[in-house]
């Protein structure tokens, strides 16, 4: 295995420099010149992380190591890794870009992405660690009939992962094309191949360290940028806002909520989706099994909340600073677009997603620009690795080992299935990423959060706290939540009008986000389905609550950490 890894690693490293030459072969006018400095720094990151993967591959011989890093991660390390998993390129580039484009509206998203974390701390983290081993389905199915709940949880996981993954892949391809001057398909394939290498050879051990390194790099880079912005304005945020209002075409409007949220129902629905979606993301929930006990799980969310909150405040400063430092600098503006009558924000080269990258160049020159470019690439890589591991675990642990083999799978076979699932998921992600290049995937992350909030979260939280829940109730409520969430997104204006091209106003579901409705339906489905359940199984389900609750509260009988 390690020989195969060495070959693959050598190929990947050897491939990276030659990728630069691909640029000369394509003739796209919009592509940036090849950025050797950024590629060099990224190659360093790849060499380092592949080295870690090689080291980790010797340890990932047991399922406990492969899925949960043997429970040997400390609370602080896991806090960083959770932050690394959560601070995606979408939040770094997307939110700073949104602030750059419309000011205050960006803060609404930052707040929404953060407020799920206290809920995770108060309700989920400790019971999750006390009850489960590898996946959140371990917890959701604890006292229930295994097969139906595992299938439900695997569906919830795979739908969430698929949409999140595709959004990240397409974002990655477009970003890398812009920053590194590489061909789109090569960029997507590079991300996919590296992600497969990390996850299949290094499992959770390698994935965790990739997250930690990336989180440190991203926090350091963003801190420097925010510091440089504040320094430019003499450490006065008032001066920063004043200049931004002066330079932004929308003027003083950027200091208040604007057009992002059209109606109150959509606002509340989006808010609930972001908040409870966080508490149902499978790749995040999985991270709680990597620490020794409930105490460490609790600490890790505290650290993670701190890092993530700090990071979102930085993105806000970065976005506002860029309005002055990027939009007034001709170097970052496209003269053709300006001549066509576009304003300075619209005419920013590469679109508003490039804001943070452009600002890096404005405040730190070419070297820092290269560094931030490499960090953005590393960020995408880390997030897709975490997602793929969660998807592969749902297939191997929940479907193969528990449903198909009825819990009697050989450890070696289970890991092998997981590795095969990783390769398949990676290949699908590369394929769909290339096919869907031109698709507007803004809805995909919203859909991932909506499904997590409407299927995974209700089933998980009710199973932990409600004595009278039954297998039947979980299946009815979980699948209803999943279907309504997916349906609500497909029939919403975001897809119906913008992607399918039906006329404006014809969308069957009028709101931008379904979470308010799909979550309510999921909880109602669980409640009614359980209340009306008089089956033999229902009696077993209810009788199992007491022992489960004691274990969730005290950790007596919980899976202990495997020592390294």
């Amino acid at each position: 295995m390690s020989a195969a890894l060495r070959v693959l690693a050598a190929v990947a490293v050897a491939l990276a420099p030659t990728l630069c030459f691909a640029d000369a072969l394509t003739e796209q006018t919009e592509k940036e010149p090849v950025n050797y400095l950024a590629i060099g720094m990224f190659v360093l990151f790849v060499i380092l992380t592949l080295g870690i993967t090689k080291w980790a591959s010797k340890r990932t011989t047991s399922t406990a190591q492969f899925y949960a890093a043997g429970g040997g991660i400390t609370g602080f390390q896991n806090g960083l890794a959770i932050a690394g998993d959560y601070m995606s390129a979408a939040s770094f580039l997307g939110i700073s870009g949104l602030v750059y484009k419309s000011g205050y509206d960006g803060l609404i998203y930052s707040v929404g992405f953060l407020v799920g974390w206290p809920i995770v701390t108060f309700l989920i983290a400790e019971p999750l660690r006390n009850l489960g081993r590898f996946t959140f389905a371990d917890v959701a199915s604890f006292r229930f009939q295994q097969a139906p709940i595992r299938i439900l949880a695997a569906c919830g996981t795979l739908v969430t992962v698929a949409f999140y993954l595709i959004a990240q892949m397409i974002g990655a391809g477009q970003l890398i094309k812009l920053i590194f001057g590489l061909d789109y398909a090569i960029a997507v394939a590079t991300v996919g191949v590296l992600m497969i290498l990390y996850v299949s050879f290094g499992g959770m051990v390698a994935t965790t360290w990739v997250q930690i390194i990336k989180a440190c790099l991203l926090l350091a880079g963003a801190s420097f940028m925010a510091f440089a912005v504040l320094q430019h304005f003499g450490f006065s945020t008032e001066a920063m806002f004043k200049e931004a209002v002066f330079n932004h075409p929308s003027g003083v409007k950027i200091m208040a909520p604007g057009n992002l949220i059209s109606d109150p129902i959509s606002a509340i629905s989006l808010g609930l989706g972001l908040m409870f979606g966080t508490a149902g993301l499978p790749h995040i929930l999985m991270r709680f099994f990597t620490v020794a006990d409930a105490k460490a799980a609790r600490k890790s969310v505290f650290y993670a909340t701190g890092f993530i909150g700090y990071f979102y405040i930085l993105t806000f400063i970065i976005g506002f600073g860029a309005i002055t430092l990027v939009a007034t600098d001709g170097e970052f503006l496209d003269p053709a677009l300006l001549a066509a009558g576009k304003n300075v924000i619209e005419a920013t080269k590469g679109g508003t997603n490039m804001t943070a990258i452009d600002l890096a160049k404005a405040v730190g020159g070419d070297v820092f620009f290269g560094f931030i470019s490499a960090v953005a690439f590393a960020t995408i890589l880390a997030v897709v690795s975490g997602l793929t591991l969660a998807g592969a675990s749902a297939i191997s642990h929940d479907l193969y080992a528990t449903v198909f083999k009825k819990g009697a799978a050989l450890e070696r076979d289970e890991i092998m299935v997981s590795k095969i699932a990783t390769v398949v998921l990676g290949a699908i992600a590369i394929g769909l990423g290339i096919v869907a290049e031109k698709l507007n995937v803004a809805f995909a992350v919203g859909l991932a959060f909506a499904v997590a909030a409407s299927c995974n979260f209700p089933v998980l939280v009710t199973s932990i706290f409600w004595r009278n829940m039954t297998t039947r109730g979980a299946v009815i409520g979980g699948f209803l939540g999943l279907l309504v969430a997916v349906g609500g997104v497909v029939f919403s204006p975001g897809i119906w009008v913008d992607v399918f091209g039906y006329p404006k106003g014809s969308a069957p579901f009028p709101y931008a986000n379904p979470a308010l409705f799909s979550m309510t339906i999921a909880f109602l489905g669980i409640w009614i389905g359980s209340k009306l359940d008089r089956s033999k199984r229902a009696a077993i389900d209810r009788a199992g609550f007491e022992a489960q609750f004691v274990r969730s509260q005290t950790g007596v009988g919980a899976e202990s950490a495997v020592c390294h």
């Binding site: 407020v115 206290p118 400790e126 200091m255 004691v550």
Partner: protein, 101 residues
Amino acid sequence: MSNQQLERITHNPKYRRLVRSRTLIGGILSAITLAIYLGFIGLIAYNPKFLGTPIDGEVTTIGIPIGILVIVSAFLLTGVYVFIANTTYDRLIREIKADAQ
């Protein structure tokens, strides 16, 4: 966990204290988080003009500190829970486990 052990834990007053306190604190803190956040979303949805009110003739609007405070409050509330759990619950759990042996 044997049935005997389970019985011993559920009848332990310390266990009841742990569950009562954790349910209460977790519930209150969740409610506060939800109230702060829904209050913020409510302002955006129903009264965006208020968030756009300038502070004392400056360009900075009242929405900026409010938004930042929502972020900081999430971190602080998490800290409150972790502090209570570290100082109270862990000790109770240790004692409950010892009593159950």
